[in-house]
Subunit: 124 residues, 2 copies
Amino acid sequence: MEDVMAGDELVRRYVELIGGGGSTDEIVGLYAADAVLEDPVGSEPRRGHAAIREFYAVLEPLDREAELVTSRIIGTRAAFLFRLTTRAGGRTMDISPIDVMEFDDAGKIVSMQAYWGPDDLILR
Amino acid sequence: MEDVMAGDELVRRYVELIGGGGSTDEIVGLYAADAVLEDPVGSEPRRGHAAIREFYAVLEPLDREAELVTSRIIGTRAAFLFRLTTRAGGRTMDISPIDVMEFDDAGKIVSMQAYWGPDDLILR
């Protein structure tokens, strides 16, 4: 039986995995089975592990790192700013979203909305 | 007839008013009549202008300033980090929430959730 992760631990672990510290399956494993992901906000939400896996799988082949800039965590709700840097084909991309998450009592993410627009994505 | 404010303009104006650049009524005027405010997240939501006015009225007597640190705005949805400094009775308090807002087509705030905890409040 897994330990229940507290919100701050979950957020740190999420950013670590996004930054290349783990597999797509490990990222998906942070989500509840029927979780809903909306990234960026305004896009069609993805529901459930299969749709969420498809979303994160694009990260797997990329050389990448991520850094948690600041987080606000209150019980089962969190908002945090982080920076993800990816390198592929000689290009470097920085993206810095504000993510909003809600967790369930089992310490799994039940909803995630990522706030970012074209201005928050820098190609160099 | 008022012009419809775009999301980025609304967020800038909100922070300006919070920081002492206007009255409680001007803050309340940024909200739709049936808007819902949850500050901090996890507290009982306040619905409608009267409840929202009561919430912001506590700011009015305080010497204060506010600064928008960073914002992510996509259409009618926004997340932003700001810092509010208040001075009263010889004490200075800094609070730095991440606010999440949704706007309606008339450019009014329909929902606001403020993410902050005890660690995000500094008394000095």
